[in-house]
Protein backbone atom coordinates (compact mmCIF):
# COMPACT_ATOMS: atom_id res chain seq x y z
CA UNK A 1 0.00 0.00 0.00
CA UNK A 2 1.68 3.20 -1.10
CA UNK A 3 1.56 6.16 1.20
CA UNK A 4 1.18 8.92 -1.37
CA UNK A 5 -2.40 8.52 -2.49
CA UNK A 6 -4.19 11.61 -1.12
CA UNK A 7 -7.31 9.63 -0.25
CA UNK A 8 -5.30 7.02 1.61
CA UNK A 9 -3.32 9.67 3.42
CA UNK A 10 -6.47 11.43 4.39
CA UNK A 11 -8.09 8.26 5.64
CA UNK A 12 -5.05 7.35 7.73
CA UNK A 13 -5.21 10.76 9.40
CA UNK A 14 -8.94 10.44 9.89
CA UNK A 15 -8.53 7.00 11.44
CA UNK A 16 -5.75 8.14 13.73
CA UNK A 17 -7.59 11.23 14.88
CA UNK A 18 -11.06 9.83 15.36
CA UNK A 19 -11.06 6.07 15.93
CA UNK A 20 -10.79 6.38 19.71
CA UNK A 21 -13.65 8.91 19.84
CA UNK A 22 -15.84 6.55 17.85
CA UNK A 23 -14.77 3.57 19.93
CA UNK A 24 -15.63 5.51 23.09
CA UNK A 25 -19.01 6.47 21.64
CA UNK A 26 -19.66 2.81 20.86
CA UNK A 27 -18.44 1.53 24.24
CA UNK A 28 -20.76 3.87 26.08
CA UNK A 29 -23.76 2.53 24.17
CA UNK A 30 -23.07 -1.08 23.31
CA UNK A 31 -24.13 -3.99 25.48
CA UNK A 32 -20.81 -5.82 25.12
CA UNK A 33 -17.24 -5.01 24.24
CA UNK A 34 -17.51 -7.11 21.08
CA UNK A 35 -20.54 -5.14 20.00
CA UNK A 36 -18.67 -1.88 20.69
CA UNK A 37 -15.73 -3.08 18.59
CA UNK A 38 -18.17 -4.08 15.86
CA UNK A 39 -19.86 -0.67 15.82
CA UNK A 40 -16.58 1.26 15.79
CA UNK A 41 -15.05 -0.93 13.07
CA UNK A 42 -18.16 -0.76 10.93
CA UNK A 43 -18.23 3.03 11.27
CA UNK A 44 -14.61 3.31 10.15
CA UNK A 45 -15.30 0.94 7.24
CA UNK A 46 -18.17 3.16 6.14
CA UNK A 47 -15.89 6.20 6.34
CA UNK A 48 -13.38 4.48 4.04
CA UNK A 49 -16.01 3.49 1.51
CA UNK A 50 -17.64 6.91 1.58
CA UNK A 51 -14.54 9.00 2.05
CA UNK A 52 -15.67 11.49 -0.57
CA UNK A 53 -18.76 12.19 1.54
CA UNK A 54 -16.83 12.79 4.75
CA UNK A 55 -16.58 16.52 5.50
CA UNK A 56 -13.28 18.08 6.45
CA UNK A 57 -12.25 19.62 9.75
CA UNK A 58 -14.21 19.40 12.96
CA UNK A 59 -17.25 18.25 11.00
CA UNK A 60 -15.48 14.92 10.38
CA UNK A 61 -16.01 13.83 13.96
CA UNK A 62 -19.68 14.80 13.89
CA UNK A 63 -20.20 12.97 10.60
CA UNK A 64 -18.63 9.86 12.13
CA UNK A 65 -20.85 10.16 15.21
CA UNK A 66 -23.83 10.34 12.86
CA UNK A 67 -22.73 7.15 11.11
CA UNK A 68 -21.96 5.40 14.41
CA UNK A 69 -25.38 6.36 15.66
CA UNK A 70 -27.00 4.74 12.67
CA UNK A 71 -24.76 1.69 12.95
CA UNK A 72 -25.85 1.29 16.58
CA UNK A 73 -29.45 1.33 15.41
CA UNK A 74 -29.03 -1.04 12.49
CA UNK A 75 -26.25 -3.45 13.41
CA UNK A 76 -27.51 -6.63 14.93
CA UNK A 77 -24.85 -9.05 13.84
CA UNK A 78 -24.66 -12.17 15.90
CA UNK A 79 -21.31 -13.22 17.35
CA UNK A 80 -20.78 -16.00 14.81
CA UNK A 81 -21.09 -13.53 11.93
CA UNK A 82 -18.55 -11.13 13.35
CA UNK A 83 -15.12 -10.55 11.82
CA UNK A 84 -12.43 -12.28 13.87
CA UNK A 85 -10.46 -9.07 14.18
CA UNK A 86 -13.49 -7.40 15.70
CA UNK A 87 -13.79 -10.28 18.15
CA UNK A 88 -10.15 -9.85 19.10
CA UNK A 89 -10.61 -6.13 19.68
CA UNK A 90 -13.66 -6.89 21.79
CA UNK A 91 -11.72 -9.39 23.89
CA UNK A 92 -8.91 -6.89 24.30
CA UNK A 93 -11.41 -4.36 25.63
CA UNK A 94 -12.82 -6.95 28.00
CA UNK A 95 -9.35 -7.70 29.32
CA UNK A 96 -8.05 -4.16 29.61
CA UNK A 97 -10.93 -1.82 30.30
CA UNK A 98 -12.84 -1.40 33.52
CA UNK A 99 -15.75 0.97 33.91
CA UNK A 100 -14.97 4.29 35.57
CA UNK A 101 -15.23 4.15 39.34
CA UNK A 102 -17.50 7.17 39.26
CA UNK A 103 -20.00 5.15 37.29
CA UNK A 104 -20.56 2.90 40.28
CA UNK A 105 -21.41 5.60 42.80
CA UNK A 106 -24.91 5.06 44.16
CA UNK A 107 -26.06 8.52 43.22
CA UNK A 108 -24.78 8.10 39.71
CA UNK A 109 -26.78 4.90 39.44
CA UNK A 110 -29.81 6.93 40.46
CA UNK A 111 -29.23 9.30 37.55
CA UNK A 112 -28.67 6.33 35.25
CA UNK A 113 -31.98 4.78 36.30
CA UNK A 114 -33.68 8.13 35.85
CA UNK A 115 -32.17 8.38 32.37
CA UNK A 116 -33.54 4.95 31.51
CA UNK A 117 -37.03 6.21 32.25
CA UNK A 118 -36.80 8.87 29.55
CA UNK A 119 -37.80 8.60 25.94
CA UNK A 120 -34.95 7.49 23.70
CA UNK A 121 -34.84 10.87 21.99
CA UNK A 122 -34.56 12.63 25.35
CA UNK A 123 -31.87 10.20 26.45
CA UNK A 124 -29.94 10.58 23.25
CA UNK A 125 -29.57 14.36 23.37
CA UNK A 126 -28.61 14.24 27.05
CA UNK A 127 -26.00 11.57 26.37
CA UNK A 128 -24.56 13.44 23.41
CA UNK A 129 -24.27 16.55 25.58
CA UNK A 130 -23.08 14.80 28.73
CA UNK A 131 -21.05 11.88 27.44
CA UNK A 132 -19.68 13.22 24.17
CA UNK A 133 -19.53 16.82 25.43
CA UNK A 134 -21.18 18.11 22.28
CA UNK A 135 -22.73 21.55 22.04
CA UNK A 136 -26.34 21.82 20.90
CA UNK A 137 -25.13 22.93 17.47
CA UNK A 138 -22.89 19.87 17.20
CA UNK A 139 -25.71 17.60 18.36
CA UNK A 140 -27.84 19.17 15.65
CA UNK A 141 -25.22 18.13 13.10
CA UNK A 142 -25.08 14.56 14.40
CA UNK A 143 -28.85 14.19 14.45
CA UNK A 144 -29.36 16.25 11.28
CA UNK A 145 -31.86 18.48 12.99
CA UNK A 146 -32.22 22.26 13.22
CA UNK A 147 -30.31 23.59 16.21
CA UNK A 148 -33.50 25.18 17.50
CA UNK A 149 -35.08 21.74 17.69
CA UNK A 150 -32.11 20.34 19.57
CA UNK A 151 -32.14 23.26 21.94
CA UNK A 152 -35.77 22.62 22.77
CA UNK A 153 -35.23 18.88 23.06
CA UNK A 154 -32.36 19.44 25.44
CA UNK A 155 -34.38 21.80 27.56
CA UNK A 156 -37.33 19.42 27.61
CA UNK A 157 -35.16 16.40 28.31
CA UNK A 158 -33.49 18.12 31.23
CA UNK A 159 -36.87 19.09 32.62
CA UNK A 160 -38.10 15.51 32.34
CA UNK A 161 -34.95 14.15 33.95
CA UNK A 162 -35.36 16.56 36.82
CA UNK A 163 -38.97 15.44 37.18
CA UNK A 164 -37.95 11.79 37.42
CA UNK A 165 -35.22 12.62 39.94
CA UNK A 166 -37.78 14.56 41.96
CA UNK A 167 -40.00 11.48 41.94
CA UNK A 168 -37.11 9.53 43.40
CA UNK A 169 -36.81 12.18 46.08
CA UNK A 170 -40.44 11.72 46.97
CA UNK A 171 -40.12 7.94 46.92
CA UNK A 172 -37.12 8.02 49.23
CA UNK A 173 -38.63 10.58 51.56
CA UNK A 174 -35.39 12.50 51.67
CA UNK A 175 -33.60 15.31 50.00
CA UNK A 176 -31.36 14.59 47.07
CA UNK A 177 -28.26 16.60 46.61
CA UNK A 178 -26.05 16.57 43.58
CA UNK A 179 -22.43 17.43 44.03
CA UNK A 180 -20.95 18.27 40.70
CA UNK A 181 -17.31 19.17 40.98
CA UNK A 182 -15.47 21.12 38.37
CA UNK A 183 -13.95 19.71 35.22
CA UNK A 184 -10.66 17.89 35.29
CA UNK A 185 -7.54 19.10 33.55
CA UNK A 186 -8.81 17.88 30.20
CA UNK A 187 -12.13 19.59 30.53
CA UNK A 188 -14.02 16.38 31.18
CA UNK A 189 -16.41 16.69 34.09
CA UNK A 190 -15.35 14.88 37.20
CA UNK A 191 -17.70 12.58 39.00
CA UNK A 192 -20.99 14.03 40.03
CA UNK A 193 -22.46 12.18 42.95
CA UNK A 194 -25.86 12.25 44.45
CA UNK A 195 -26.26 11.60 48.11
CA UNK A 196 -29.45 10.71 49.87
CA UNK A 197 -30.25 12.53 53.06
CA UNK A 198 -33.01 11.26 55.25
CA UNK A 199 -35.47 13.89 56.33
Amino acid sequence: MGGHDPAEERYRRLFEEHFRAILGYAMRRARTSAEAADIASETMLVAWRRLEDVPEGEATRLWLFGVARNVVATTHRSADRRDRLVTRIGRHLDDHVTPDAAADVAGTELVRVAMSRLDPTDREVLELAGWEQLTPAEIAEVLDLPSATVRTRLHRARQRLRAVLDEFDDDHGGARRVDASSADAEGRPRAASITEESS
Binding site: F15, G24, M27, W48, W63, H96, D144, L145, L154, H155
Partner: protein, 386 residues
Amino acid sequence: MNDQELDLAIAATSRYSSTAVAELDLAALEVELLERIMSGAFGAPDSDSDSESDVDGPDADADLDTVVPLERPGRTRPHPQRRRRRTTFVAMAVAACLVVVAGILATSPGGDRQFADAAIAVARSNERLLVDDPTWTVAKVDQFTAASGEMTFTGSGRELWLNWYPADTYEMFLLDRTSSYPSKAIAVLGEPATLVTYTGAGFAALLRPNDVNFLEIRSNDLVDEREFRALLAKLRRVGVDEWLTALPERAVRPDASAALIDSMLQGVVRPPVLDLSDVEAVGVSDRYQFGTRVASAVACGWFDDWFEASAVDDADRVAAAGSALRSLRDWKLLQDLDAEGDYSQVVWQLADRTQLPAGSEAGGLPLTAESVHGALTCPGPVPSGR
Protein backbone atom coordinates in the same frame (compact mmCIF):
# COMPACT_ATOMS: atom_id res chain seq x y z
CA MET B 1 -29.79 21.94 39.98
CA ASN B 2 -28.98 24.09 36.97
CA ASP B 3 -28.29 22.75 33.48
CA GLN B 4 -24.54 22.61 33.95
CA GLU B 5 -24.83 20.62 37.17
CA LEU B 6 -27.32 18.29 35.57
CA ASP B 7 -25.00 17.73 32.59
CA LEU B 8 -22.17 16.92 34.98
CA ALA B 9 -24.37 14.37 36.74
CA ILE B 10 -25.22 12.85 33.36
CA ALA B 11 -21.56 12.84 32.32
CA ALA B 12 -20.76 10.83 35.43
CA THR B 13 -23.09 8.05 34.26
CA SER B 14 -20.76 7.35 31.35
CA ARG B 15 -19.01 4.06 32.06
CA TYR B 16 -16.01 4.86 29.89
CA SER B 17 -14.37 8.26 29.83
CA SER B 18 -12.68 9.57 26.71
CA THR B 19 -9.43 9.59 28.67
CA ALA B 20 -9.73 5.90 29.54
CA VAL B 21 -10.45 5.03 25.92
CA ALA B 22 -7.57 7.20 24.69
CA GLU B 23 -5.16 5.46 27.05
CA LEU B 24 -6.04 1.97 25.84
CA ASP B 25 -3.09 -0.04 24.57
CA LEU B 26 -4.76 -0.81 21.30
CA ALA B 27 -2.26 0.46 18.74
CA ALA B 28 -1.38 -2.90 17.15
CA LEU B 29 -5.00 -3.89 16.65
CA GLU B 30 -5.80 -0.43 15.33
CA VAL B 31 -3.09 -0.66 12.70
CA GLU B 32 -4.34 -4.08 11.70
CA LEU B 33 -7.89 -2.81 11.41
CA LEU B 34 -6.78 0.23 9.41
CA GLU B 35 -4.76 -1.82 6.93
CA ARG B 36 -7.49 -4.38 6.49
CA ILE B 37 -10.13 -1.75 5.90
CA MET B 38 -7.99 0.01 3.29
CA SER B 39 -7.01 -3.23 1.59
CA GLY B 40 -10.64 -4.25 1.29
CA ALA B 41 -10.06 -7.36 3.38
CA PHE B 42 -12.06 -6.26 6.37
CA GLY B 43 -15.56 -7.67 6.38
CA ALA B 44 -15.10 -9.25 2.94
CA PRO B 45 -16.40 -12.80 2.37
CA ASP B 46 -12.91 -14.23 2.03
CA SER B 47 -11.42 -12.41 4.95
CA ASP B 48 -10.71 -14.07 8.24
CA SER B 49 -14.26 -13.58 9.38
CA ASP B 50 -15.98 -16.66 10.69
CA SER B 51 -18.61 -16.52 8.01
CA GLU B 52 -20.06 -14.25 5.38
CA SER B 53 -20.11 -10.62 6.31
CA ASP B 54 -23.32 -8.70 6.63
CA VAL B 55 -21.94 -5.57 5.11
CA ASP B 56 -20.31 -6.70 1.90
CA GLY B 57 -21.63 -8.26 -1.26
CA PRO B 58 -24.23 -6.94 -3.69
CA ASP B 59 -26.20 -5.10 -1.02
CA ALA B 60 -23.21 -3.41 0.56
CA ASP B 61 -24.03 -0.02 -0.88
CA ALA B 62 -27.64 -0.36 0.14
CA ASP B 63 -26.47 -1.11 3.68
CA LEU B 64 -24.17 1.87 3.60
CA ASP B 65 -27.04 4.09 2.58
CA THR B 66 -28.82 3.22 5.80
CA VAL B 67 -26.02 4.51 7.97
CA VAL B 68 -24.50 7.40 6.00
CA PRO B 69 -26.07 10.77 6.70
CA LEU B 70 -28.23 11.79 3.78
CA GLU B 71 -27.07 15.35 3.96
CA ARG B 72 -23.41 16.09 4.26
CA PRO B 73 -23.05 17.61 7.72
CA GLY B 74 -19.86 19.52 7.03
CA ARG B 75 -21.45 22.83 7.79
CA THR B 76 -20.62 25.48 10.22
CA ARG B 77 -23.37 27.65 11.47
CA PRO B 78 -25.44 29.18 10.11
CA HIS B 79 -26.65 26.13 8.19
CA PRO B 80 -27.14 27.40 4.66
CA GLN B 81 -28.31 24.08 3.23
CA ARG B 82 -30.80 23.49 5.98
CA ARG B 83 -32.03 27.05 5.84
CA ARG B 84 -32.48 26.85 2.07
CA ARG B 85 -34.43 23.64 2.44
CA ARG B 86 -36.66 25.13 5.10
CA THR B 87 -37.16 28.32 3.15
CA THR B 88 -38.14 26.34 0.09
CA PHE B 89 -40.53 24.28 2.14
CA VAL B 90 -42.17 27.30 3.71
CA ALA B 91 -42.39 29.00 0.35
CA MET B 92 -44.13 25.96 -1.08
CA ALA B 93 -46.46 25.77 1.90
CA VAL B 94 -47.31 29.44 1.60
CA ALA B 95 -47.95 29.04 -2.11
CA ALA B 96 -50.25 26.09 -1.48
CA CYS B 97 -51.90 28.01 1.30
CA LEU B 98 -52.63 30.95 -0.95
CA VAL B 99 -54.53 28.68 -3.30
CA VAL B 100 -56.60 27.34 -0.42
CA VAL B 101 -57.21 30.78 1.05
CA ALA B 102 -58.25 32.05 -2.34
CA GLY B 103 -60.75 29.23 -2.44
CA ILE B 104 -62.03 30.04 1.03
CA LEU B 105 -62.45 33.69 0.16
CA ALA B 106 -64.26 32.78 -3.02
CA THR B 107 -66.79 30.69 -1.15
CA SER B 108 -67.01 32.96 1.89
CA PRO B 109 -68.00 36.41 0.69
CA GLY B 110 -66.66 39.09 2.94
CA GLY B 111 -65.00 36.51 5.13
CA ASP B 112 -62.19 38.04 7.15
CA ARG B 113 -59.11 35.94 7.39
CA GLN B 114 -58.35 35.47 11.05
CA PHE B 115 -54.75 34.41 10.69
CA ALA B 116 -51.80 35.57 8.65
CA ASP B 117 -50.26 33.49 5.93
CA ALA B 118 -47.27 32.49 8.03
CA ALA B 119 -49.45 30.98 10.75
CA ILE B 120 -51.60 29.18 8.21
CA ALA B 121 -48.53 27.84 6.44
CA VAL B 122 -47.22 26.32 9.66
CA ALA B 123 -50.62 24.90 10.50
CA ARG B 124 -50.93 23.39 7.06
CA SER B 125 -47.51 21.81 7.24
CA ASN B 126 -48.45 19.77 10.30
CA GLU B 127 -51.15 17.33 11.18
CA ARG B 128 -53.82 19.27 13.03
CA LEU B 129 -55.47 17.23 15.75
CA LEU B 130 -57.83 18.17 18.56
CA VAL B 131 -59.68 16.15 21.17
CA ASP B 132 -63.35 16.27 20.32
CA ASP B 133 -64.43 16.79 23.93
CA PRO B 134 -64.99 20.23 25.48
CA THR B 135 -63.43 19.10 28.77
CA TRP B 136 -60.10 18.54 27.00
CA THR B 137 -58.21 21.62 25.89
CA VAL B 138 -54.81 22.42 24.43
CA ALA B 139 -52.53 23.37 27.32
CA LYS B 140 -49.30 23.72 25.41
CA VAL B 141 -47.95 23.56 21.90
CA ASP B 142 -44.32 23.81 20.98
CA GLN B 143 -41.67 23.52 18.35
CA PHE B 144 -43.82 22.91 15.35
CA THR B 145 -41.56 22.43 12.38
CA ALA B 146 -42.06 20.28 9.33
CA ALA B 147 -40.88 17.12 11.10
CA SER B 148 -41.53 17.56 14.77
CA GLY B 149 -43.91 19.11 17.22
CA GLU B 150 -45.55 18.64 20.57
CA MET B 151 -49.03 19.28 21.89
CA THR B 152 -50.26 18.77 25.42
CA PHE B 153 -53.96 18.41 26.12
CA THR B 154 -55.40 18.58 29.62
CA GLY B 155 -58.76 17.39 30.85
CA SER B 156 -60.06 16.46 34.29
CA GLY B 157 -56.64 16.98 35.76
CA ARG B 158 -54.99 14.56 33.38
CA GLU B 159 -52.67 15.02 30.42
CA LEU B 160 -52.49 13.64 26.93
CA TRP B 161 -49.33 14.28 24.91
CA LEU B 162 -49.08 14.26 21.15
CA ASN B 163 -45.51 14.13 19.89
CA TRP B 164 -44.46 14.19 16.27
CA TYR B 165 -40.97 12.81 15.73
CA PRO B 166 -38.87 12.50 12.56
CA ALA B 167 -39.81 9.40 10.58
CA ASP B 168 -36.30 7.96 10.77
CA THR B 169 -36.59 7.59 14.54
CA TYR B 170 -39.71 5.41 14.36
CA GLU B 171 -37.94 2.04 14.54
CA MET B 172 -35.90 3.20 17.53
CA PHE B 173 -39.01 4.35 19.35
CA LEU B 174 -40.96 1.22 18.52
CA LEU B 175 -38.13 -1.02 19.70
CA ASP B 176 -37.71 0.99 22.88
CA ARG B 177 -41.41 0.84 23.72
CA THR B 178 -42.17 -2.73 22.75
CA SER B 179 -39.02 -4.39 24.09
CA SER B 180 -39.96 -3.73 27.71
CA TYR B 181 -43.73 -3.45 27.74
CA PRO B 182 -46.65 -5.43 26.25
CA SER B 183 -47.95 -4.13 22.96
CA LYS B 184 -50.67 -4.89 20.45
CA ALA B 185 -52.01 -3.60 17.17
CA ILE B 186 -54.87 -1.11 17.23
CA ALA B 187 -56.28 1.55 14.91
CA VAL B 188 -56.02 5.27 15.63
CA LEU B 189 -57.55 7.87 13.35
CA GLY B 190 -58.31 5.04 10.98
CA GLU B 191 -54.65 4.09 10.69
CA PRO B 192 -52.71 1.11 12.01
CA ALA B 193 -50.91 1.81 15.26
CA THR B 194 -49.15 0.04 18.12
CA LEU B 195 -50.58 0.30 21.61
CA VAL B 196 -48.06 -0.02 24.44
CA THR B 197 -49.22 -0.58 28.01
CA TYR B 198 -46.83 0.61 30.69
CA THR B 199 -46.51 -1.15 33.99
CA GLY B 200 -48.61 0.55 36.66
CA ALA B 201 -50.14 3.31 34.61
CA GLY B 202 -49.80 4.89 31.25
CA PHE B 203 -50.20 4.08 27.60
CA ALA B 204 -48.59 5.01 24.34
CA ALA B 205 -49.92 4.67 20.82
CA LEU B 206 -47.43 4.89 17.95
CA LEU B 207 -48.81 5.50 14.49
CA ARG B 208 -46.86 4.34 11.47
CA PRO B 209 -44.54 6.96 9.98
CA ASN B 210 -45.28 8.92 6.85
CA ASP B 211 -42.52 10.38 4.68
CA VAL B 212 -41.74 13.08 7.22
CA ASN B 213 -42.66 12.04 10.74
CA PHE B 214 -44.74 9.81 12.96
CA LEU B 215 -47.11 10.50 15.80
CA GLU B 216 -46.88 9.12 19.30
CA ILE B 217 -49.78 9.70 21.68
CA ARG B 218 -49.06 9.22 25.37
CA SER B 219 -50.73 9.45 28.72
CA ASN B 220 -49.12 8.63 32.03
CA ASP B 221 -52.27 9.25 34.05
CA LEU B 222 -54.73 6.74 32.68
CA VAL B 223 -54.83 3.23 34.14
CA ASP B 224 -57.76 1.86 32.17
CA GLU B 225 -57.04 0.87 28.57
CA ARG B 226 -60.66 1.41 27.60
CA GLU B 227 -60.43 4.99 28.87
CA PHE B 228 -57.27 5.63 26.85
CA ARG B 229 -58.77 4.13 23.73
CA ALA B 230 -61.96 6.13 24.22
CA LEU B 231 -59.79 9.24 24.33
CA LEU B 232 -57.97 8.18 21.16
CA ALA B 233 -61.33 7.75 19.49
CA LYS B 234 -62.09 11.39 20.27
CA LEU B 235 -59.08 12.64 18.31
CA ARG B 236 -60.09 14.25 15.08
CA ARG B 237 -58.38 16.10 12.30
CA VAL B 238 -59.48 19.71 12.01
CA GLY B 239 -59.06 22.63 9.67
CA VAL B 240 -56.42 25.32 9.86
CA ASP B 241 -58.57 28.01 11.49
CA GLU B 242 -60.06 25.66 14.07
CA TRP B 243 -56.64 24.36 15.03
CA LEU B 244 -55.09 27.82 15.30
CA THR B 245 -58.07 29.06 17.30
CA ALA B 246 -57.67 26.19 19.77
CA LEU B 247 -54.06 27.04 20.56
CA PRO B 248 -53.50 28.44 24.04
CA GLU B 249 -52.69 32.08 24.70
CA ARG B 250 -49.06 31.28 25.47
CA ALA B 251 -48.47 29.73 22.06
CA VAL B 252 -46.46 32.05 19.83
CA ARG B 253 -47.69 31.97 16.26
CA PRO B 254 -45.30 32.89 13.45
CA ASP B 255 -47.40 35.88 12.43
CA ALA B 256 -47.02 37.28 15.95
CA SER B 257 -43.38 36.47 16.43
CA ALA B 258 -41.87 39.65 14.94
CA ALA B 259 -43.91 41.92 17.20
CA LEU B 260 -43.18 39.72 20.19
CA ILE B 261 -39.45 39.82 19.50
CA ASP B 262 -39.60 43.62 19.41
CA SER B 263 -41.53 43.64 22.64
CA MET B 264 -39.14 41.25 24.35
CA LEU B 265 -36.13 43.29 23.24
CA GLN B 266 -37.42 46.46 24.85
CA GLY B 267 -35.23 47.79 27.62
CA VAL B 268 -32.18 45.75 26.75
CA VAL B 269 -29.00 47.03 25.16
CA ARG B 270 -28.58 45.13 21.90
CA PRO B 271 -25.20 43.57 21.15
CA PRO B 272 -23.24 44.56 18.04
CA VAL B 273 -24.25 41.26 16.41
CA LEU B 274 -27.75 40.02 17.13
CA ASP B 275 -28.41 36.63 15.53
CA LEU B 276 -32.13 35.93 15.67
CA SER B 277 -32.05 33.13 13.11
CA ASP B 278 -32.84 30.44 15.66
CA VAL B 279 -35.82 32.43 16.91
CA GLU B 280 -37.19 32.82 13.42
CA ALA B 281 -36.62 29.18 12.44
CA VAL B 282 -39.41 27.74 14.54
CA GLY B 283 -43.05 27.71 13.51
CA VAL B 284 -45.43 27.62 16.44
CA SER B 285 -43.63 27.78 19.74
CA ASP B 286 -44.32 27.89 23.45
CA ARG B 287 -43.83 31.37 24.89
CA TYR B 288 -41.18 30.30 27.41
CA GLN B 289 -39.14 28.48 24.78
CA PHE B 290 -39.52 31.41 22.44
CA GLY B 291 -38.37 33.79 25.15
CA THR B 292 -35.25 31.76 25.93
CA ARG B 293 -34.30 31.86 22.26
CA VAL B 294 -34.63 35.66 22.17
CA ALA B 295 -32.69 35.96 25.43
CA SER B 296 -30.05 33.61 24.09
CA ALA B 297 -29.57 35.76 20.98
CA VAL B 298 -28.91 38.85 23.09
CA ALA B 299 -26.83 37.26 25.86
CA CYS B 300 -24.75 35.24 23.42
CA GLY B 301 -24.15 38.32 21.29
CA TRP B 302 -22.72 40.16 24.28
CA PHE B 303 -20.70 37.19 25.48
CA ASP B 304 -19.22 36.75 21.99
CA ASP B 305 -18.34 40.44 21.92
CA TRP B 306 -16.76 40.17 25.36
CA PHE B 307 -14.67 37.12 24.37
CA GLU B 308 -13.58 38.71 21.09
CA ALA B 309 -12.60 41.94 22.83
CA SER B 310 -10.74 39.98 25.50
CA ALA B 311 -8.78 38.17 22.81
CA VAL B 312 -7.44 41.44 21.40
CA ASP B 313 -7.04 43.13 24.80
CA ASP B 314 -9.53 45.86 23.94
CA ALA B 315 -10.14 47.04 27.49
CA ASP B 316 -12.84 49.58 26.64
CA ARG B 317 -14.81 47.07 24.61
CA VAL B 318 -14.41 44.43 27.31
CA ALA B 319 -15.71 46.89 29.89
CA ALA B 320 -18.67 47.86 27.72
CA ALA B 321 -19.63 44.27 27.01
CA GLY B 322 -19.18 43.31 30.66
CA SER B 323 -21.39 46.19 31.71
CA ALA B 324 -24.05 45.18 29.18
CA LEU B 325 -23.93 41.59 30.44
CA ARG B 326 -24.36 42.62 34.04
CA SER B 327 -27.28 44.85 33.07
CA LEU B 328 -29.13 41.75 31.88
CA ARG B 329 -30.29 41.31 35.49
CA ASP B 330 -32.60 44.25 34.85
CA TRP B 331 -34.01 42.89 31.58
CA LYS B 332 -37.72 42.31 31.97
CA LEU B 333 -37.71 39.31 29.66
CA LEU B 334 -35.21 37.42 31.82
CA GLN B 335 -37.09 38.42 34.95
CA ASP B 336 -40.30 37.05 33.46
CA LEU B 337 -38.61 33.83 32.32
CA ASP B 338 -37.11 33.38 35.78
CA ALA B 339 -40.55 32.57 37.13
CA GLU B 340 -40.88 29.58 34.82
CA GLY B 341 -37.43 28.02 34.56
CA ASP B 342 -33.77 28.30 35.39
CA TYR B 343 -32.52 29.75 32.12
CA SER B 344 -32.28 33.31 33.47
CA GLN B 345 -30.26 32.21 36.49
CA VAL B 346 -27.69 30.60 34.21
CA VAL B 347 -27.38 33.79 32.15
CA TRP B 348 -26.99 35.95 35.24
CA GLN B 349 -24.46 33.65 36.90
CA LEU B 350 -22.32 33.56 33.77
CA ALA B 351 -22.59 37.34 33.36
CA ASP B 352 -21.44 37.87 36.95
CA ARG B 353 -18.40 35.78 36.29
CA THR B 354 -17.13 38.15 33.61
CA GLN B 355 -16.02 40.30 36.55
CA LEU B 356 -13.71 37.57 37.87
CA PRO B 357 -10.04 37.46 36.88
CA ALA B 358 -9.21 35.50 33.71
CA GLY B 359 -8.66 31.80 34.39
CA SER B 360 -10.61 31.87 37.63
CA GLU B 361 -12.58 28.70 38.31
CA ALA B 362 -14.52 30.17 41.19
CA GLY B 363 -18.12 29.15 40.98
CA GLY B 364 -17.73 26.13 38.72
CA LEU B 365 -16.35 25.49 35.27
CA PRO B 366 -13.88 27.98 33.76
CA LEU B 367 -15.60 30.75 31.84
CA THR B 368 -14.82 30.00 28.22
CA ALA B 369 -16.57 30.76 24.98
CA GLU B 370 -17.24 27.03 24.63
CA SER B 371 -18.79 26.70 28.07
CA VAL B 372 -20.99 29.77 27.52
CA HIS B 373 -22.13 28.55 24.12
CA GLY B 374 -22.91 25.16 25.61
CA ALA B 375 -24.74 26.54 28.63
CA LEU B 376 -26.82 29.06 26.69
CA THR B 377 -27.13 27.08 23.43
CA CYS B 378 -25.84 30.04 21.47
CA PRO B 379 -26.83 30.34 17.82
CA GLY B 380 -23.50 31.37 16.31
CA PRO B 381 -19.97 29.94 15.98
CA VAL B 382 -17.82 29.92 19.09
CA PRO B 383 -15.45 32.92 19.02
CA SER B 384 -11.84 32.63 20.04
CA GLY B 385 -10.87 34.46 23.16
CA ARG B 386 -10.06 34.50 26.83
